[in-house]
Symmetry: C2
Subunit: 221 residues, 2 copies
């Protein structure tokens, strides 16, 4: 039920990005990743598309709106990947393990969007925006906080049944997320890299995170 509520919020804004917007979104996500929100310019996004500002401002009211759509798109992809795992019933530790795997793989595969999510959360924490943008960012960070709660609730369950051992739940969740998200900061695709290589990286990251939480069992996909 928590899950369906989140799924609702995921859809109740603009229509899902059609073909035209999707192309803009990709370009914007890459620009935001490469320069950061404030350093990235709309003209640069346009150049990447081989077009001009006009195209972007025809679809988005402002730079902040464009960024918000990148953010939301990134989170939508996360929910779509993790929710199925979250909803299937099995041992909490196994579920957490799988969630961590698909989440981390998602960080690598959709890195530009996830970087925007990261920066968006930071922007909201700093709180340096106009009131209206602040509200939009607030909704989006709520959206991301509830995503985080999916993991947090699993951590709690696992701690209760003794599969995990940590002190403070919130801190554990925070540190775990930073660890799982860490490829955002040091991973960049190698030339001849295939799915197997990525899965090995994901495996190491997830192993680190789950061990960090006090997990003793073995860590499979």
């Amino acid at each position: 039920m928590a899950a369906s509520a989140q799924a609702d919020l995921a859809q109740n804004l603009e229509p899902p990005a059609d073909g035209a917007r999707r192309e803009i979104l990709n370009a914007a996500a890459n620009c935001f990743m490469e320069r950061g929100y404030s350093a990235a310019s709309i003209d640069e996004v346009a150049r990447r598309l081989g077009s001009t500002k006009g195209r972007i401002y025809h679809h988005y009211a402002s730079k902040a709106d464009l960024f918000a759509d990148v953010f939301k798109t990134g989170m939508d992809m996360n929910y779509q990947t993790v929710l199925p795992v979250y909803e299937c019933q099995s041992d909490p530790a196994v579920k957490l393990c799988r969630m961590a795997h698909v989440h981390t793989r998602q960080m690598i595969k959709t890195k530009p969007f996830q970087r925007a999510v990261w920066e968006g959360v930071e922007m909201h924490l700093r709180g340096s925006t106009t009131p209206e943008q602040r509200e939009t960012l607030g909704e989006l960070t709520d959206y991301r906080d509830r995503y985080s709660d999916l993991f947090k609730s699993m951590l709690d369950l696992c701690k209760q049944d003794g599969a995990l051992a940590f002190d403070n739940l919130s801190i554990a969740n925070q540190v775990m997320f930073v660890a799982l998200n860490s490829p955002l900061f040091w991973y960049s695709p190698r030339p001849g890299e295939d799915q197997t290589d990525i899965d090995k990286i994901v495996g190491q990251v997830v192993t680190f995170a789950l061990r960090g939480l006090g997990y003793q069992g073995d860590i499979s996909s």
Copy 2:
């Protein structure tokens, strides 16, 4: 010897910040933390000091130079804290544990400067600056990379004697650092907080990181 080489590089630029610069540095570090490099303005730093641009541009040639000094100051503080632990001879695992503790505590205590270090590394990775700034940033990231190597070499030793268990050394080091640095992103000082509270947080973070690396022993200060 690696250590002394690093200490050298730490001193061979401008004279260490005197009183006047130190005040500017603190203000700048806080501004960069709250807004990020490109969104922070020199005028804002000046307002925080209760003065004007003139003061800042009298001591620094450019915004990039000011940022570089914040970066370097942050790293200097790190070396000063961690090097003594690194140089004392004791069991690698114990040494790593202590290094992790003092490092993480440093992240919390000098957060504004460490955020600048973090953003500086990211700016260098993105590579979006002028050639000369790029060189300056390059030296600084080298400085920070050698700091990272202090830990990396310890990880390697610990793995050899079986105290730690992980697959890829570089990845392990990266994920460990992100975990240890994670307070930069979720910690903010509580009103009535004292040293003991901070140490508890540090303890949890370090425990997570060392367990993540496969450490089985107990983790003391």
